[in-house]
C-alpha cells in the first residue's frame, strides 16, 4: 500500500465528510451564528464585570475570544467517538474495517475534517472579534499560532482516539466525553484565569496540556502574559503527544481486535 494510495484514501475520507456536511444546508449558517452570538454575549459580559487580573474590559474579551476559539478545536478532537458510533449504526464501519485502508487509518482520517473545520471556525471567530468587536491581535506573533494549534490538535487527538476505543467496546459515542470537555474547559482556563481556582484544581490545571496550550495561544494571539515559559508549554504539548498518541493508537487497535474476537464488532 503506497504512501500515495494512503494519502488519497485520507483525502477521500475528508472529502466524504465535507460532502456529508454540506448536504445539511443550514448547518454552516447555524455554526457561524453560534460563534457570533457567543462573542456578543461575552463582549457584553466583559463590559459588565470587572475580572481581577485584567487591566481592561478589552483584555478580558481578548482572553475569552481565544478560549471560545479553542473549545471548538477541543470538541473536534472529542467528536471521533460520536462519528464512530454513527458509522457503527449505519453499518459503514464494517466496510472501513474490511477495506485495505483499515479501521485505524479510517478512524484517524475521520478526525481530519472536524479538525480542519474547527480550525476554520476558530479563524472565523477571531475575525468576527476583530471586525465586529474591535479585538486587537498581536499580528507579529499570530503566524506562530498555526504550528502551535497543530500541536494542540496532536496533543488532544489521543483523547478522542481513547474514547473511540471505548466506543468500540461499549457502543456509546458520547460516553464520558461531555464531562471531560466541561472539566478541561474549567481547568484549562477557557473563560477565566486558572488562578481563580482552588489550589488542588490549579495543580490539575498545570498537569494537563490544555492550560499550557491556551496560555501559549493567548500569548501569541493577543499578547497576554504567560504563566510559564513558552518552552515549557511546548514541551508539555510534545510530551503529551509523544506518549499518548502511540498509546491511544495501540489501545484502539487492541479494542478493535478484542471486539473482533468476541464478535461484538458487528453490534451497535
Amino acid at each position: 500500500m503506497s504512501a500515495d494510495h494512503q494519502l488519497k484514501a485520507f483525502l477521500a475520507v475528508m472529502r466524504r465528510d465535507l460532502h456529508v456536511y454540506l448536504s445539511y444546508r443550514t448547518r454552516l449558517v447555524s455554526q457561524l451564528l453560534t460563534s457570533l452570538f457567543s462573542l456578543t454575549l461575552f463582549y457584553y459580559v466583559s463590559r459588565l464585570v470587572h475580572v481581577s487580573g485584567f487591566t481592561s474590559h478589552n483584555s478580558y474579551f481578548g482572553f475569552v475570544v481565544v478560549g471560545i476559539s479553542l473549545i471548538g478545536v477541543l470538541y473536534s478532537c472529542f467528536s471521533i467517538p460520536e462519528l464512530m458510533r454513527q458509522e457503527l449504526v449505519a453499518g459503514t464501519f464494517d466496510r472501513l474495517l474490511l477495506s485495505p485502508f483499515g479501521a485505524i487509518r479510517s478512524i484517524i482520517a475521520m478526525s481530519l475534517f472536524p479538525m480542519v473545520f474547527s480550525f476554520t471556525i476558530a479563524v472565523f471567530t477571531l475575525t468576527l472579534g476583530i471586525v465586529v468587536f474591535g479585538l486587537h491581535l498581536h499580528w507579529s506573533t499570530v503566524p506562530l499560532s498555526v504550528p502551535v494549534m497543530i500541536m494542540v490538535l496532536l496533543a488532544f487527538l489521543p483523547f478522542g482516539l481513547l474514547f473511540a476505543a471505548l466506543t468500540v467496546l461499549v457502543k456509546q459515542g458520547s460516553v464520558g466525553t461531555n464531562w471531560v470537555i466541561a472539566l478541561l474547559s474549567i481547568v484549562g482556563g477557557l473563560y477565566f484565569p486558572v488562578t481563580l481556582l482552588p489550589g488542588w484544581l490549579q495543580t490539575l490545571a498545570k498537569l494537563q496540556p490544555f492550560t499550557a496550550a491556551t496560555d501559549l495561544l493567548r500569548h501569541l494571539l493577543v499578547n497576554s502574559s504567560l504563566g510559564e515559559s513558552p518552552q515549557t508549554a511546548l514541551w508539555k504539548l510534545i510530551g503529551f503527544s509523544a506518549v499518548l498518541l502511540p498509546l491511544s493508537l495501540f489501545l484502539l487497535g487492541r479494542s478493535i481486535r478484542f471486539a473482533q474476537k468476541r464478535g461484538t464488532i458487528i453490534e451497535y
Binding site: 500500500m1 500515495d4 494510495h5 488519497k8 484514501a9 483525502l11 477521500a12 475520507v13 472529502r15 466524504r16 460532502h19 456529508v20 448536504s23 445539511y24 449505519a90 453499518g91 459503514t92 464494517d94 466496510r95 472501513l96 474495517l97 474490511l98 477495506s99 485495505p100 485502508f101 483499515g102 479510517s106 473482533q260 474476537k261 464478535g263 464488532i265 458487528i266
Partner: protein, 246 residues
C-alpha cells in the same frame, strides 16, 4: 473444478513471506479455505460452527443454504475477516487476516445482508469514488473503474442521486456494485437478492459470471435456493454447525 468440505487437504498455509509472491505461486493454497472453524456465541449456547471446513477453488461458485440463525452469516463474517473464529482459520491464498490484513482485504469482498453500509447523504458516484479510494483501486485505473461500475450495474441514471432518496432495490444495486468494484478474487454474498428486481438479479448474475470467468470464486449464502435462477458448482446446507451436501 473440485470442491468438497475438506479436513486439511489444502496443505500448510503460507506465511507472510509467501504473501508477497504472485498469488498463483502459492501452490498449496486455494482462493478461500476455511479450516476447522469453530464459533460459539455464549458458553451456554451450542456451537454455531463446529469445526467447519470449506475450500473454494478458482472459477467456482458455491451456494450454502440453511434456516435463519443457523450460522451462515457468522461463517461469512469469519471468512471476510470481520470477526474471528474461536478456533480454526480463514485463509485466502494461504494468507489469514491477522497475518496480512491489507492484502487479505484486497482479495476478498463481502456483501453483508440487509441494507446497511451506505452513506445516506452521498450520491451514488461519490459513494463509489469513496469506496474505490478506501479499497485502494490503482491510480491509473480509478476513473475507468468508477465509470465501468456505473455502467455494469446500470447506475448511470442514478449516479447523482443521494442514497437516501433511492428505493431499497436501487440501494441494493449500489451495495452489489461496491462489492464488485475493486475486482476482488473472492466474493462473499449474504442474501444478495434482497430487494433486487429481475433486472437487478440479472446484473448480479452477470457480475458473478465475470468474476468466475477471470478465475475468481463466489460464496453465496441464502436461506433457500428455490428462488435462484443460477446454477452453482457446489451446493451445501449448513446444519448444526457443519456443511452437509445438498
Amino acid at each position: 473444478m473440485n470442491l468438497s468440505p475438506l479436513s486439511t487437504s489444502a496443505g500448510d498455509p503460507s506465511g507472510p513471506a509467501q504473501s508477497q509472491q504472485p498469488l498463483h505461486a502459492v501452490a498449496s493454497a486455494a482462493p478461500l479455505v476455511l479450516r476447522s472453524i469453530t464459533k460459539r456465541w455464549r458458553k451456554d449456547l451450542p456451537l454455531i460452527l463446529d469445526e467447519l471446513d470449506l475450500t473454494l477453488e478458482e472459477g467456482t461458485s458455491t451456494w450454502i443454504g440453511g434456516r435463519n440463525g443457523i450460522g451462515k452469516t457468522t461463517m461469512l463474517r469469519i471468512a471476510a475477516g470481520l470477526i474471528e473464529a474461536d478456533q480454526g482459520r480463514a485463509e485466502v491464498w494461504g494468507i489469514t487476516p491477522t497475518e496480512n490484513r491489507a492484502r487479505y482485504q484486497r482479495l476478498v469482498s463481502f456483501l453483508p445482508a440487509g441494507d446497511r453500509g451506505l452513506y445516506a447523504r452521498l450520491t451514488v458516484r461519490r459513494q463509489l469514488e469513496f469506496w474505490g479510494r478506501i479499497a485502494m483501486v490503482p491510480r491509473g485505473e480509478f476513473a475507468e473503474t468508477i465509470d465501468r461500475t456505473l455502467d455494469d450495474f446500470d447506475l448511470r441514471e442514478l449516479e447523482h442521486r443521494r442514497v437516501d432518496r433511492m428505493s431499497m432495490g436501487q440501494r441494493q444495486r449500489v451495495r452489489v456494485a461496491m462489492t464488485f468494484l475493486p475486482k476482488p478474487e473472492v466474493v462473499l454474498l449474504d442474501e444478495p437478492l434482497t430487494s433486487l428486481d429481475t433486472e437487478g438479479g440479472e446484473i448480479l448474475q452477470r457480475a458473478v459470471a465475470e468474476l468466475l470467468a477471470r478465475d475468481g470464486c463466489v460464496l453465496w449464502c441464502s436461506p433457500s435456493g428455490e428462488h435462484l435462477d443460477m446454477t452453482f458448482d457446489h451446493s451445501w446446507m449448513l446444519e448444526q454447525g457443519k456443511l452437509v451436501p445438498v
